[in-house]
Symmetry: C2
Subunit: 222 residues, 2 copies
Amino acid sequence: MNAPSPDRSRTRRPGRAARAHGKRSREAILDAAESLLAERGFAGTGIAAIRERSGLPASSIYWFFENKEDLAAAVVERAMDRWTKMLGETRDTAPPGELFDRLMRRALDEMGHALPPFLRLEMMLALERGAQDPALLARLRAGRETGRRMTEDALADAFSKLGDRARPLAADLSSLAIAWTQGALVGHLLDPERIDLDALADELGVALAAVADHRLKRERSP
Amino acid sequence: MNAPSPDRSRTRRPGRAARAHGKRSREAILDAAESLLAERGFAGTGIAAIRERSGLPASSIYWFFENKEDLAAAVVERAMDRWTKMLGETRDTAPPGELFDRLMRRALDEMGHALPPFLRLEMMLALERGAQDPALLARLRAGRETGRRMTEDALADAFSKLGDRARPLAADLSSLAIAWTQGALVGHLLDPERIDLDALADELGVALAAVADHRLKRERSP
DNA sequence: ATCGTATTGGAACGTTCACTACACTAGATT
DNA sequence: AATCTAGTGTAGTGAACGTTCCAATACGAT
């Protein structure tokens, strides 16, 4: 009916989904690997465990991924993409002036319910593999940097009354905001009764405002 | 000379240090295991690696410790003891009114230079093994609780002008202070250039004061 | 000098590890 | 109908794992 296949060289059209389970199997493997890596870390997660949890044989795992490291990197990449997308959506729908509050609240909310696996994943891999696998560390850093830059924008928005001081201050405090948020989340994981995530979004804003004030004062009179 | 050994049953006097290298070997194994566990986690640390780094054969490791888990527990115990001792000393030598500042500064200072291995150890084992090894998790929690209680004392001291509100507020904020400190330290590990540990002791105090204020205000007018 | 015992050295144990080889099937293409 | 290939199933590979065994050692006490 339509244009006949040109027979010069084997230009196989890559779309068309060859076998039904292709992408679905890949996702199943990534799902299994993600939860296992978050639970047990890289060294603690065996291919056998991924095979069991995903229901797919080892040969399929090695069909989609070069080796265990490559699989872990793919897991991180997918998780980072989800995270970035969520942050972007929040930013695009929040009214100005409330950006920081919304962002923090959304992050805490999301993390408090669905994302501890992701948080665990990031921390575990950073701590365990960061020193040995620079490529993975770079990927983790890139994801962290994306989050940081969005936090910086949100803080600049929150500090907008400070004029041209707002931006550098926001850049400076964004790392602190992320670090503190992350610390609180880890605290919540280790000791859920003592860290009240609901109260935190408010209080982090208050705390950062106080630190900003402190820094500005020190800037004037060293 | 002294009392002759009573021959009823084999009551061997346990003191007296039998072989010269006994305790020293045990410490060497603990040292090697501690650094390796902090670097690579539990699953990532093999007995072979501990043997190499400590210079002692596997049989010695299994002479002093029942198995790998027991060794990890001993590592944690020793690290926690050091930590507790250091905090206690700081508390006992700090003048009242400056307790919190001193404690935070000392903790950050110590951690910034000597203790990242310890921090890594705590976090890695908590994240990696916590779910599977309740005894280890309990030990980690106990150490964390000791630190928290000392922080609570220090904060109560800092808030002393608030009278009888000081203590509950201090108890409440101590967890937050620890979580934030820990978050900042992890941030420093992942991104050393962006988190300035030296500035943090000041600013954490400022931030906590602001949060305390915020909570008191909300308490009055809900 | 001899003995007992706290350690060490080294070689094994069975199991699990990451990974591979290869026959095979299902669905798309011809 | 025949062919092709993305993906699956099974059975394996050598290496590394945690752990054990036991002979060899060296020191303290006798």
